[in-house]
Symmetry: C3
Amino acid sequence: MKSHRKELWFNTNQRREFINITKFIEQEIILSKIKEGFVLVNAMHITASVFINDDETGLHQDFEKFLEKVAPEKPHSQYKHNGYEDNADAHIKRQLFGREVVCAITNGKLDFGPWEQIFYGEFDGLRNKRVLVKIIGE
Amino acid sequence: MKSHRKELWFNTNQRREFINITKFIEQEIILSKIKEGFVLVNAMHITASVFINDDETGLHQDFEKFLEKVAPEKPHSQYKHNGYEDNADAHIKRQLFGREVVCAITNGKLDFGPWEQIFYGEFDGLRNKRVLVKIIGE
Amino acid sequence: MKSHRKELWFNTNQRREFINITKFIEQEIILSKIKEGFVLVNAMHITASVFINDDETGLHQDFEKFLEKVAPEKPHSQYKHNGYEDNADAHIKRQLFGREVVCAITNGKLDFGPWEQIFYGEFDGLRNKRVLVKIIGE
């Protein structure tokens, strides 16, 4: 069994942002030389998500509106977590969109349906944060 | 390390439907001849989920009601994604119920608790859509 | 490829509770002698979650408040699932917080960011329930 590991770093310009990271994952699969296996992609921070959906701007606006409706950022004082912190909403949003994805690798490639794209979902940005890519297989 | 891959196809009669796919996954584990490992089961489309819960009709009605309450299908015009499309709600519902499950295989079987059943959750059906089953192990 | 399996048992004093189980997972990784691989940690019951977030009491109160807002326990009669049962809300809460986490193992340790902690999320407690830990790798 072979394994391969990579950290990806992101620093978003906005508090909340969705970044398509599919091409970075494809590159790590190539570097790993693994033909059959799994790739795990997870946020290493607890106010961010990694998820798979469509790369469509309107949909991303719908995601933002939905998440702000069910777990609004403000007023910050509505959350017990927010004293020194102001990011309780980001922890909840991350719970809803998930920490990680596990994807199949087949014939050395991401084994994806036609519209699947991997996103980094930042909910408390404006600083350096990491995503872990770990690949196992043969 | 061995691996095994299968695509399952579904075409639901309703826009939203939950289908118990546990027996198909059990069959692929047998075919794989893998005794110890992981099975990944994921929707290959971004308006569908794979998840594990109870096979109980009342509960599935509760799931439907919950998802329609937090991310209603109509009016279609409430979503930016919906111009040519009408399925923004299905993308959001899929986010909440998840894309995939990873399950343990022990002694050649799904290593499950007493009530765990694997479901395909369709949120934009009436057409052919796929689920990927990928197994790795020994 | 090596594999390792362990069941963890929990019996919470309250209906809903979050328990930090990180140290149990770290122990199983040591026992497995696996240096590079994946660890799957999943609830074996369908009214409980395993998830990764911050070990902060205020935040856990925010989680509880959020889940009770979107999927309230009472009145029990609002759910079709609740006849002999009274835990439909717990099935929905589990859907939102997820069944499982998959974590990377690197150099024989959990490959985690600075604040990542693994939690058992109980939504229908006061009885014995299990979490499965399955590790594969080399």
